[in-house]
Subunit: 332 residues, 2 copies
DNA sequence: TTGTAAGCGTTATCAT
DNA sequence: ATGATAACGCTTACAA
């Protein structure tokens, strides 16, 4: 900046005034022009670190996710990064796969970030201490302590139930992730409630919890299929589980959707890769991330955080080929 | 730090000496203990921004990827983030999906990052100017101008060819991404060379380029299938293409592997989700990311960058169910 | 061994 | 409208 000042024949603070884009900076047009020219000639790049030191904030947000190979979180990250970048915020990415979240948070704090977006599960099993002094936005989990962005998870469950009921199914199964996250609980609740509203029962052997992975879904589906009275349709609370379940069916020779209807929830790209394409309830993951970032960005752009939590983002049924009418003759 | 100093009854620079972990800092054991205690009591968190200002480097690396929903890059990011985090480096994530790379790079420069990891394609179609002054590590692309980490792409192509040849196929097809990246070219070259070595021809209508997406693969496969003499086995240079191709086969009723053998390259998780599981050549994406990060981290931990580029990371054939012996009777 | 002082590149508060 | 000058929180000679 000093170099620019010299070239422009003015003082360094004046250069700052011009370049920082401070709106209440009253600088003579001539001076401004000279400064701008000099800066361009010298290829001046402002030092954001110095800026951050003065402002005591880094114009950056942290993003803590459990694992990037989970396409849902990849989408969340993508959405958040887009909004943040457009607002001039850097995104510090932290994957809590082999490094404890608390350590990530210490690093973020030390770097003077303006806020953290994190997944609900990570936050849940965290020493509350570890979050002190941070502005947190939770993904898909309401909390009285922090802000959050959510999808309409209960509706997702209801949509799934209604879709299967509409197809004539009455013998239903459910596979959910064995994870204490609000959105998962609500997907389950919505599903169960909608069945109850229709006077369709869901016996407990047909309601299973599994590790939220392909393998988990595969195992749970095998268990369902060996039941004395297997369901004719199964709703999996995440696509990953459903994909695993689908695989189990392929392996065991259960034809989808002829013998069994199967659907998932999340709307990840993979559901369009398998055959048959998986019916699912799409959750706008990218939007969730974008909205979370917006919350933080706005908060530090002066705009106050909205008092009431935003309305949950709508979910959408994607009826595809993995669900169909109930089989006329029950499978042997 | 001043508070800590006061509580410990010493001066602020002494506190710095103790806390910065500077090895050549000779501080009395008693003093050190008092400082450490005081810091703990006050819950002191060092300000990395101030540190970065003094050092003129942020102890952070930039990571520029084309799109996170490409599982290959999700893995690269994951690997890089792990290594960086363990070395105390922050990772600034940039997705070049809706924001020009050059803008991302400006931001990274302004933040005094120590280096950038970027994908080959992004770097290729970039004004060379935009990279000036940055330490760059390219993913899966050798370059005389920058460091790079690479997989053994030519071997990947050879492995694919040999696998299909071993199964008895002589009528082969190839689908590659229409992208000028070194690793893709090498996969193709390795494949073609291995065929030539075996005196098996690859006519040009059977060699196709497509958009590197599901749709691209689907389209290219349709084209191959409508050939007067369709191949009995197809190698796709990326899994995404292969997955698209697989879908085309499903849609058109071509049974895999009975009527056609199909394989991909990359080794992404999705290949295990489809039925049949896709034969592929696994490229260690996570390792590529990790190694790229290690390069940068080491460079700034004092260790000089290795003179000769590291040996390419080995690729591995994963023979699964999408490839099989050549059909006894050619399909009609 | 420890404290004093200078400086990293900005922004912000003043006089002028 | 502009230019000194003092932070911001830390590291690093150098002096004591």
């Amino acid at each position: 900046m000093l170099d620019v000042a010299r070239l422009a024949g003015t003082s360094q603070p004046t250069v700052s005034l011009v370049l920082s884009g401070n709106p209440r900076a009253r600088v003579a047009a001539r001076t401004r022009a000279r400064v701008l020219l000099a800066a361009a000639q010298l290829g001046y790049v402002p030092n954001e670190v110095a800026r951050a030191l003065v402002h005591r904030r880094a114009t950056a947000i942290g993003l803590v996710v459990p694992a990037l190979d989970n396409p849902f979180f990849a989408d969340v990250v993508s959405g958040a990064q887009r909004v943040a970048a457009q607002a001039g915020f850097a995104v510090l990415l932290c994957e809590a796969r082999e490094i404890p979240i608390s350590r990530h948070l210490d690093v973020l704090r030390a770097r003077q970030i303006d806020g953290v977006i994190m997944d609900a599960v990570g936050a849940a099993l965290l020493d509350p201490e570890a979050l002190s002094g941070l502005t947190v936005v939770l993904i898909d989990e309401p909390s009285d302590r922090w802000q959050g962005v959510a999808s309409d998870a209960e509706r997702a469950g209801r949509l799934a139930a209604r879709h299967l009921l509409d197809l004539g199914h009455r013998e239903l199964g459910f596979i959910g992730p064995a994870i204490p996250a609000h959105s998962f609980r609500m997907r389950e609740r919505g599903f169960v409630q909608a069945l109850r509203d229709a006077n369709v029962g869901l016996t407990s052997p047909r309601l299973r919890r599994a590790e939220p992975s392909l393998q988990g879904g595969e195992g749970a589906m095998r268990a369902l299929l060996t039941l004395a009275a297997p369901p004719t349709a199964v709703f999996c609370a995440t696509d990953l589980l459903a994909l695993g379940a689908l695989k189990a069916c392929h392996v065991l020779g259960v034809r989808i959707p002829h013998e069994l209807s199967l659907m998932g929830c999340d709307g990840i790209e993979m559901t369009r890769v398998v055959t048959p394409e998986l019916t699912t309830v799409a959750v706008p993951a990218r939007e969730l991330g974008a909205r979370a970032a917006r919350l933080l960005v706005n908060a530090f752009a002066g705009k106050a955080a909205p008092e009431k939590p935003g309305r949950p983002l709508p979910v959408r049924l994607l009826a595809r080929r993995s669900t169909g009418p109930v089989p006329a003759v029950p499978s042997p």
